[in-house]
């Protein structure tokens, strides 16, 4: 069970790194990258539980595959929005993303 613990610890570390990046970075690209990091931490959890969990099964693996593909699609959409935004505002600085307030 210690092996599961170390996987989970690694995933938690990755998640926190990602969260830190999302919350603090000003560059939108870096924010997106950090988001991927958080997703991957979750994937790692899923795989670890599928292998070393109480009832090992394939569900975790399959779910991970889904997550990866959905994350890829999401990243594509996110970057596309970023590009459009950059064309309009000539910036990728998250601080200036405050359209909703105006």
């Amino acid at each position: 069970m210690t092996l599961l613990g170390s996987y989970l610890t690694l995933a938690a570390v990755l998640f926190c790194l990602g969260l830190y990046g999302v919350l603090t970075k000003r560059n939108a690209i870096v924010v997106l990258l950090s988001l991927e990091l958080m997703l991957n931490a979750v994937n790692l959890n899923l795989v670890a539980f599928a292998k070393y969990g109480m009832i090992p099964s394939l569900t975790g693996h399959i779910f991970t595959l889904f997550t990866i593909s959905v994350a890829a699609a999401e990243a594509a959409v996110g970057v596309a929005i970023l590009i459009v935004f950059y064309r309009r505002r000539v910036t990728v600085n998250v601080d200036e993303f405050d359209e909703l307030r105006r």
């Binding site: 919350l23 998250v94 601080d95 993303f97 405050d98 307030r101």
Partner: protein
């Protein structure tokens, strides 16, 4: 005889009301036509009122008609009309004077810009007054009672660009309000105590007519006194008389119509209409008689020292209304209503003649008048007839009605009779003063007075004729009026009252002639010897100043205090609430930065707190 016209009695107030609606709707576009609309409508009312009264004289039955207005619980309120001798008499008085005043105003108000507005108000007044007269229950009477008050307010303040007129209108409205409150409470008490919550006059007279009825003596007295308070306010009795002389700021035809003949008589009419309530309470009757007698002599003394022609007449009106109340208070409805009937004609005549004088000389101060008799023959003659009628000189109308009241008073209480007789003397004195100062003597220099147009003099002549003949309907030898009105006559056996009253009147006239015409008694020396008394009378016993000191100032002080309370405490609380909301809002805007990462951080913190809370709960 069957009732034919009485069934159409509802038309009598409706015609002026329709004229009012028409005049209000079409306003300025009907300048000359407007007056004719009003005159036609009041003529229609007059004809119908005369037909109804004629039918009743021929012996028609009482007629009443009502329909349900509101029903709640066990009580229902009705709207309806009652045609009895009393109401048809009042209808005739109101429509006769109303019609003549409408005609007269066409001459008097001709140059006024707001002629149609004036006529509209007068029509509304006539409609309300006739509604008041016809009303078959006390609540409906109260509604019309307030409506005539509103019309009085509007018409006193008709020349609202004059500050005195505005003040007088407000004063009239506020002072009568004191009385109206009494009447309202009386209506509510009656509604509470009457079996079945009935408010119609026939039920009231049934309940109070039987001694030892369902309502205790104390409550009866209270109700009667409260009704009388309403009458005191409307009829300008002491101590609420102060508004009536000031009301003379209104146009003179209005003074004649509202403040001499009709509306101020509404108080007397109200007491006569609810007379069974008063009869059931000897205390209330005594109060009515004493207040009436006191007002009569009190106002007559003030009238002696006034210098405004209309104010003299106004105080005379107050005094005569006191007479009517005295008549009612000593138990004679016939005498009170008879005096109301004759007084309406000769006092309207006096006011309209005074208006004719004012129209000619453009002043109301009698010290600036004089010698008008030669230039205004019709006005002088008619005014003279009115003055003699008011002074109670036989065989004019005022003599018979005053005699009826004094005779009734003599039977009841010699003191009240004495007061009445002294008042008769004073009345003759101030009327002769007025007449000699205005019409006799030398004309003042530079006056271009001339007789008024026919549209003004014809109503004067008609009213003068009525002032001569109206008294013959009820004399000590013929009691037709009283029998018709209440079934009992004011006829009496002794001639003592008549002789004393006539002697008092003649003495007053003679003394007036000596002072103001012949000059045997030097009036300057007289005034100098009694300068204190003259000053007190000129200032109307300082009643206005007293009210100003006691009521107006204290209320104004209270008002200032309340305003400060409002500004500091009430406004302060409101301001505080607003400021709090604003501060919270400002805080919230700062939180709504639009920064995605800020929101995210808040979300993360919330999740952490949530997780900690859940974990903590499990550990516990």
């Amino acid at each position: 005889m069957a009732t034919v016209y009485a069934a159409y009695a509802w038309l009598v107030p409706t015609l002026p009301l329709a004229a009012f609606a028409l005049l209000t709707a079409f306003g300025r576009s009907l300048r000359t036509t407007g007056a004719w609309v009003a005159i036609t409508a009041s003529l229609g009312s007059l004809v119908l009122a005369l037909l109804i009264a004629g039918e009743r004289l021929a012996g028609a039955e009482d007629y009443s008609q009502s329909f349900e207005w509101l029903a709640f619980g066990t009580a229902t309120l009705h709207i309806g009309i009652d045609v009895t001798s009393l109401t048809s008499l009042m209808m005739v008085i109101v429509t006769v004077v109303g019609f003549l005043v409408n005609v007269y105003s066409y001459g008097y108000m001709r140059d006024d810009e707001r002629l149609t507005v004036f006529y509209a108000y007068v029509q509304l007044f006539l409609a309300s007054m006739l509604g008041l007269v016809l009303a078959d229950n006390l609540l409906m009477l109260y509604i019309f009672w307030e409506l005539v008050g509103v019309c009085s307010f509007l018409l006193i303040g008709f020349w609202y660009h004059k500050p005195e007129a505005r003040d007088a209108a407000k004063k009239a409205f506020i002072v009568t309000r004191v009385g109206d409150l009494g009447l309202l409470i009386a209506v509510l008490l009656l509604f509470w105590y009457m079996p079945g919550h009935a408010l119609d006059f026939s039920s009231i007279s049934n309940v109070f007519g039987n001694d030892g009825g369902t309502i205790s003596a104390g409550v009866t007295t209270l109700i009667a006194l409260l009704i009388f308070l309403g009458a005191v306010g409307k009829s300008g009795q002491f101590p609420l008389h102060v508004w009536l002389p000031d009301a003379m700021e209104g146009p003179t035809p209005i003074s004649a119509l509202i403040h001499a003949a009709t509306m101020v008589a509404a108080g007397v009419f109200l007491v006569a209409r609810t007379f069974p309530v008063f009869e059931a309470s000897p205390e209330a009757m005594t109060t009515v008689a004493v207040i009436g007698a006191f007002t009569a002599i009190f106002a007559a003394t003030i009238a002696l020292a006034q210098n405004d022609i209309k104010r003299v007449l106004a105080y005379s009106t107050v005094s005569q209304l006191g007479y009517m109340m005295l008549g009612l208070g000593v138990g004679s409805v016939v005498a009170g209503m008879f005096h109301l009937f004759t007084h309406a004609f000769f006092k309207a005549l006096l006011f309209l003649a005074a208006g004719s004088v004012i129209h000619a000389v453009h002043t109301q101060d009698i010290r600036e008048m004089g010698g008008l008799a030669g230039r205004m023959k019709i006005t002088a003659w008619t005014f003279g007839i009115g003055a003699l009628a008011l002074a109670g000189i036989p065989p004019l109308a005022g003599f018979w009605s005053k005699d009826a009241i004094l005779a009734a008073a003599l039977e009841k209480d010699p003191l009240l009779f004495t007061v009445g007789a002294v008042t008769a003397f004073l009345t003759a004195l101030y009327m002769s003063r007025l007449f000699y100062l205005v019409f006799a003597g030398k004309p003042k220099d530079g006056s271009h007075a001339h007789e008024s147009p026919a549209v003004m003099t014809v109503p004067l002549v008609v009213l003068a004729a009525l002032s001569v003949i109206a008294g013959f309907v009820e004399t000590p030898w013929y009691g037709g009026f009283g029998e018709w009105l209440t079934g009992e006559s004011a006829r009496h056996a002794g001639y003592l009252a008549m002789i004393i009253a006539t002697a008092a009147g003649l003495l007053g006239l003679y003394l007036g002639w000596l002072i103001w015409q012949k000059g045997t008694i030097d009036r300057k020396a007289l005034a100098a010897r009694m300068s204190g008394l003259v000053r007190v009378l000129e200032r109307k016993y300082y009643i206005d100043e007293f009210y100003d000191l006691v009521f107006v100032r204290s209320l104004r002080g209270l008002g200032h205090m309340l305003r400060r309370f409002d500004a500091l405490v009430v406004d302060g609380v409101v301001w505080l609430i607003a400021a709090t909301a604003q501060a919270v809002g400002r805080l919230n805007t700062r939180m709504q930065s639009g920064q995605l990462q800020g929101y995210l951080l808040a979300a993360v913190f919330s999740v952490v707190i949530l997780v900690l809370a859940m974990a903590g709960r499990r550990l516990w």
